[in-house]
Amino acid sequence: MARTFALAGNPNSGKTTLFNALTGARQHVGNYPGVTVEKKTGVYRMGSREFFLVDLPGTYSMTAYSMEEVVARDYLAMEKPSVVVDIVDASNLARNLYLTLQIIEMGIPVCIALNMVDVAEGRGIRIDIEKLSELLGVPVVPTVARSGKGKRELMDAAAQLAEKTDRISFPPISYGDDIDAALAEMEPLISGKNLLSGHYPARWVALKYLEKDQQIVSVGDAENPELSSELLRIVDRVTLHLSRTLNTDPEAMIADHRHGFIRSLLRQGVLHVENESSRLYLSDRIDQVLINRVAGPVIMAAVVLLLYHVTFALSEIPGQWLESGFAALGSIADARMADGMLKSLVISGIIDGVGGVLEFVPIILFMFVGITILEDSGYLARVAFMLDRVFRVFGLHGSSVMPFIVSGGIAGGCAVPGVMAARTLKSPKERLATLLTVPFMNCGAKLPVFALLIGAFFAAYKAWMMFAVTIISWAGALIVAWVLRHTIIRGEPMPFIMELPPYRLPTVRGVIIHAGERTWQYIRKAGTVILAISILLWALMSFPTLPDHQVEAYQQAGMEAELARAELEHSVAGRIGTTLEPATRLAGFDWRTNIALLGGFAAKEVIISTLGTAYSLGEVDVEEAGGLSTRLASSDDWRPLTAFSLIIFVMFYSPCFVAMVCIAREAGSWKWAFFSMGFNTVLAIVLAVMVFQAGTLLGL
């Protein structure tokens, strides 16, 4: 039986010319029932073989805006040709590939005829055909339809593709998190009930629902009204969310991401244009500067530094208000409550523990506002694009960049969504390398720890120090990734296409909603998990108590400060901290820091709350003690080098418990979660010891 090839393409792409060149005088024109638009059919002979060719109406997309589009789409879905030969105008590549993407998304084998290559060359357009083929995962054959050049090679490629059973599957395009989440929700519903499944892939149907394609929605309504309503409810929810946060709708978002995908694809060395600057869009013009090979990284560093400057500057005063507020609360509790266990719990365990964490809410809020602006404007995607080049050098995939940024690449993220975002990586080895290195980023829980130490010991140049911390964490993560990819996780890298959505002006409402959500998460965590851990750690730092005769001896000698310290050292946590001290002293950590770092295995914010409690329990006069920052700065056990060593340790040591659970689940084994805990902690202590010892030798 002869195979059928459908010819699709934009109007004026040379499709009909190619069809005529292929079929010669054998073509005939036929009307199809129910539509008024023509489709031509013909026969192409190759040796003894014959192929039916169907020339579809020229269309710009596969939406159902025009009858041409409906005819073309219905034919592809209902008749299922063996191969779609997509005629792409080489001199208008970006516009033509929009249709190509949509045909590929329909799950039909595609062979691209890169037509009018002579015209393109005349206009100074050079196309890397192999690269285009590799990135799209489809054969690409250059043709000149007018002269018939390349038509035989094209038919050979299409025939081979039709015979192929192991076609490379095109990775699904991401349409941004909101749309992707909706697609992930809709796809199983569609495939579970086989809605339109005889003709279209489930993802494609979901996309059409999101685009509110009336034709598909009507067919869906008729086939399964209940499921169709459910899908529309999801669509309405996403539409409302996008409208509130980005002032857009799913259809525009999907189109933006397709255009972004194409632009990025062309930037991967596929397209070289000379003297075409007047054709560039506004986003492209901005990108010429922002992602320029030389200016781009400099601007990126300046943007991050500015973000840190603004964050620290704006949060300083509200941070002081909170610090004073919690100090006043402690004083009130001290004055009103009778001495004893409960008073100690309230002041040292709750107020100094959780209060220490909450004092950093302004920093978290302003950092998130800044990051949300960068994210919503589209700049964060450019950061990922620029870092992609660096990532490949270290054996990571371009898709690893966004998980790194989500995990706190600029500071203030979370490793849990970062680990989950690594799902987009197709290669299991690149995915594993990403899973194991994203926890090195500076998440929102590490941020207050760094802010505390930087504020106490490097107050004169906070933003620069935070910038240095960011650079060190990225460098550490990439070096570890390189080591892993060259030792235990070896494997070939996969090709990558990075999407660049167009620039948008962030809406005030969107920034408030997203930054507010993230800040609220921090506050809620402080008021729940951190509070509970602080209370338990207070108990561990308070019991067992010193024997009465020892307490009396200290009191009789008037050594109240020594008594407080002895009580803390005598506690369970104190004993653990003291036991570890001989080893951790090499990194400059005393037993109280050890307790805090042990607490940090549960959640990194606990480091602050535990230090708050430990230094509070060791203090005699609550009113004179000041905030934790002041206490650390005035402590004999601390100096800037100790703080820097601790920053290095916190940056690299074990992921928090929640992140470990997530790594175990995503890696499919607890082995990798424990590897992450053990490897990271050993790495952290080695680096911290090196920093502290080197600094001490230098007299710092």
């Binding site: 998190d177 966004m402 690594a422 993230r518 998460q521 921090y522 689940r665």
Partner: protein, 55 residues
């Protein structure tokens, strides 16, 4: 005496809360997110607040 009982009750409540939290993460499969303790259903997980999580 009352003060001791109240202190033990607070510490006990904190321990129970954390155990419950652990139970959720292990038995119900909730990732926990940044602070999420809602459920095992990823689409409702607050950690997905991070948009553009991956290209």
């Amino acid at each position: 005496m009352a003060e001791t009982i109240l202190t033990i009750a607070i510490v006990g409540a904190a321990a129970v809360y954390l155990l419950r939290d652990l139970y959720r993460r292990f038995r119900r499969g909730s990732c926990g997110g940044c602070s999420c303790d809602k459920c095992a259903d990823e689409k409702d997980c607050e950690s997905t607040v991070y948009r553009n999580k991956a290209p």
